[in-house]
């Protein structure tokens, strides 16, 4: 069976995005329409932290992903409705029920060092993502790939271990940036993409300087002479830099800084609902959470609306222990988990595990997770569950807490695919299923079927089944979805708050 070819933004893919709903108001932006794009100027883009490294596949920070989005291209990008539209691939076609994908590649594209973009670059990139020693966080990012075959200079066939209906959406993310064949092992020092801006300088922890690439294949989306990413750790100093005209854009603001800036004349402040969430990990492979009654009891402990009001200052949405935010097209009707302390106490008594005293690990490097932990612990204390909140530095958290302790906070970004949101997080073989348990007998096969399905109605039906099981059985509580915050000066045009946490700077311009 051959599935139709999808080309261009007017022909939509059969899949809907999973990660975000832009229902929140962009508080000031709506009132100030952007003028037509203007050419020229250097955008000063400020964020709290710099890239952990510049390799677009191996890095593990939003900062580095934003760098990648400006310097590199992907095979596809997503439109406003999360549908794939061409970037380096001009067309894609599923074969064998989605187990093989054939991509037609754009001609006349060059890397910043002058190398021609061909199918060999795509093959080298995907093959690199299968090598866990170099791919880092990008390991298996292109999906369950078995092999890649080139067919001439501008056609490539990706063969998968199993049908993967979301392949075109999955490859739109920053870690799937297409890399140059020559120098592919050297990208930490010499970034080299096909994107609109080329690398000039990196001062670790301080700044990244990019300049306009003169031979970019789509000059219509390239408005700036250059971009300077600068990193200011302190929220007060960030605010001062924007107000004082030292920078043009602030992204990833703390809630408190957003609330202040939203009242400052001449500044556009953005608070937008996203699918980014933080969790309370109740690890199903460790005592006492290997007892389903204890897991269920814990779901009745938090006062979720109070946590949204207190920890997020109201800038977020109540979660329901499923990883898709309210309004997502795949989300079925589910009863909302609500605080019910008597019921929680009864379940704990019935579980037979006896009095519970546990360390609850969190890290201040992932705000506002400690507030969530403290609020949770305070409610738990009301039914005699003693949770000692331990705030540890992120490095210690990554080394000794994640996957190793029974109770802790974790952080997740919205993702555009069900493969990322569900398969990778809940399948017992998924890399982000921290406990490695199968939630219920037969759950893995259901989620495999969802991964393979290509028809939207079938996907919705399978997703509903999977999400119901996750809602009832999971060992990852999701009390809230966090808003994304940003602020720009009034001279920045084209700023669209990102759905998946990373700003794509290629659409931005300066009005003066």
């Amino acid at each position: 069976m051959r599935l139709p070819i999808f080309r261009g933004p007017t022909r939509r893919m059969f899949l809907g995005g999973t990660g975000a709903v832009l229902t929140g108001a962009a508080t000031a932006a709506a009132a100030i329409p952007d003028a037509a794009p203007r050419q020229g100027g250097v955008l000063r883009f400020c964020r709290p932290d710099g890239p952990d490294m510049l390799d677009p596949m191996a890095n593990n920070s939003i900062s580095a992903s934003e760098f990648s989005l400006a310097v590199y291209d992907r095979l596809v990008t997503l439109d406003q409705n999360d549908q794939p539209v061409p970037q380096l691939a001009t067309g894609w076609q599923a074969e064998k029920h989605g187990q093989e994908w054939v991509l037609t590649l754009r001609e006349g594209v060059t890397f910043h060092d002058g190398q021609e973009f061909t199918a060999a670059n795509v093959a080298a990139t995907i093959e690199r993502s299968l090598d866990k020693s170099v791919a880092g966080i990008g390991y298996q990012a292109f999906g369950p790939v078995r092999s890649v075959q080139t067919d001439g200079k501008h056609k490539v066939r990706v063969v998968l271990h199993a049908p993967f209906g979301e392949f075109p959406v999955a490859v739109s993310i920053a870690v799937c940036s297409i890399l140059p064949l020559k120098g592919i092992g050297d990208l930490r020092q010499t970034p080299n993409g096909t994107g609109p801006y080329q690398f000039r300088d990196f001062q670790p922890g301080q700044s990244v300087t990019l300049e306009r690439y003169g031979r970019f294949w789509n000059p219509g989306s390239q408005h700036l002479d250059g971009i300077r990413m600068v990193f200011v750790h302190e929220a007060v100093a960030m605010q001062a830099a924007l107000r004082g005209g030292q920078v043009d854009v602030l992204t990833q603001l703390p809630t408190e800084a957003f609330l202040v800036l939203s009242k400052v004349p001449g500044i556009r402040a953005y608070s937008v609902s996203t699918g980014n969430y933080q969790t309370v990990q109740i690890m199903g492979n460790m005592a006492p959470f290997d007892n389903p009654k204890v897991r269920e009891a814990f779901r009745y402990i938090p006062d979720r609306p109070a946590i949204v009001a207190g920890a997020l200052f109201g800038q977020g949405k109540v979660g329901n222990d499923v990883p898709l935010p309210p309004g997502n097209i795949y989300l079925p009707e589910l009863p909302q988990w609500k605080q019910d302390l008597p019921r929680a106490r009864k379940l704990l008594e019935d579980s037979g595990v006896g009095p519970i005293e546990l360390d609850f690990y969190t890290t201040s490097d992932r705000q506002p997770a400690p507030k969530l932990a403290l609020a949770f612990a305070a409610e738990a204390a009301k039914i005699g569950v003693k949770l000692n909140v331990r705030d540890v530095p992120f490095t210690e958290y990554a080394a000794n807490v994640a996957r190793k302790k029974p109770l802790y906070n974790a952080n997740f970004s919205a993702a555009p695919t069900l493969y990322s949101s569900l398969w990778r997080c809940y399948h017992s073989k998924g890399p982000y299923n921290y406990s490695g348990i199968e939630l219920k007998s037969g759950f893995d096969s259901k989620i495999d079927a969802l991964n393979a399905a290509v028809d939207l109605a079938e996907r919705k039906s399978l997703a509903a089944e999977v999400l119901r099981i996750i809602h009832e059985e999971n060992d990852r509580m999701i009390p809230y979805f966090r808003n994304y915050f940003a602020a720009t000066s009034s001279k920045v045009g084209g700023f669209v708050p990102p759905k998946f946490g990373q700003v794509d700077m290629r659409g931005l311009w300066l009005t003066a």
């Binding site: 593990n60 866990k132 880092g136 670790p204 200011v232 302190e234 992120f394 490095t395 990554a398």
Partner: protein, 315 residues
């Protein structure tokens, strides 16, 4: 000759201290939980992914082998490459060192005479209103952490009364001296910290010296009081202040972690903060070694100045 022997001895001691510092730093960083592989991969990576990256970075080698490899490079003048960024550490560190030196030396040039002057003025009339104002101010600023003073300074001078930039962001090729306005707040915060310690030290020392017999004799002989203070008292109250300024030399070169991070100033302190967060051991090692050397050199310079200003030390 005695002075030369003294300096040579101190230099030899400094080398020994640096060797010990490098061993201690290496040991401490490796005792801390996590390494650069876990820091870069974060909590989402699987244990075998972490192990693969660890092997690729050479972190599976025994500690002693890694240390000896590193020290061998240092002896050849090569600090190695950052595990996090894969770039040579030497050039990165050199640029940062230059920036920190500019910030630090300006701070010393302004702060040291000001602190000595304040201490001296306060000591002229101990318990007087001027002494109370200066001492109260010094103790007050010393009691507040630099972080708090810095935040208040940003709020006051960059947000409420927008006169100065709240961060010291600069182009990579830009010399901080060409952006004096970006230096005002960080230098101001550092100078306030110096005023307290050196000023109070000078004050205590000056009160003792001004009460001594030879000062009283000079006054009774009719020498103008300002001349007595500057010509007779000052040289004798300087040694403790100079020793303290020597210690500050190391601090302002590499210890400005809080101020550099708060003001986004591209110095050694900010580099170290990032390296520690990512457990980038070679970068931490190199930065700590440079900072330790700065402390050693600062101490040495203070001792040399003391030798030059106090003839009794030269015998």
């Amino acid at each position: 000759m005695t002075a030369l022997v003294f300096i040579c001895r101190r230099l030899a001691l400094l080398l020994l201290v640096l060797a010990l510092v490098s061993i201690l730093t290496f040991a401490i960083v490796n005792v801390l939980p996590g390494d650069v592989a876990t820091a870069v991969l974060g909590d989402t990576s699987t244990p075998d992914q972490v192990q693969s990256v660890r092997i690729a970075m050479g972190l599976d080698q025994p500690l002693l082998v890694r240390y000896l490899h590193w020290i061998e490079g240092v002896l050849r003048g090569d600090f190695g490459a950052s595990l996090q960024y894969g770039r040579p550490i030497g050039p990165m560190l050199l640029g940062r060192l230059e920036n920190s030196a500019i910030l630090g030396l300006i701070t010393l040039a302004i702060g040291a005479p000001l602190a000595v002057g304040f201490g001296l003025v306060a000591a002229l009339r101990p318990g007087g209103w001027l002494d109370r104002v200066i001492s109260g101010f010094s103790v007050g600023t010393h009691a507040l952490p630099e972080y708090v003073i810095g935040l208040v300074a940003i709020l006051a001078f960059s947000i409420w009364w927008p006169l100065l930039p709240g961060s010291s962001l600069m182009d990579p090729s830009e010399n901080p001296l060409h952006r004096p306005e970006a230096l005002v707040l960080p230098v101001g915060v550092l100078v306030l910290g110096m005023l307290a310690v050196i000023g109070q030290l000078t004050r205590a020392s000056a009160i003792g010296v001004l009460a001594s017999a030879y000062i009283r004799t000079a006054v009774l002989k009719g020498v103008p009081y300002w001349r007595v203070v500057l010509r007779h008292a000052l040289p004798n109250l300087l040694p403790p202040a100079i020793a303290e300024i020597g210690m500050y030399f190391g601090y302002v070169i590499g210890g400005l972690v809080v101020v550099e991070t708060l003001f986004s100033y591209a110095g050694v302190g900010q580099m170290m903060t990032n390296a520690v967060a990512y457990r980038d051991v070679p970068t931490i090692q190199a930065a700590v070694l440079v900072v330790a050397a700065a402390y050693g050199v600062g101490n040495l310079l203070a001792d040399v100045v003391a030798l030059l200003t106090n003839p009794r030390l030269r015998t």
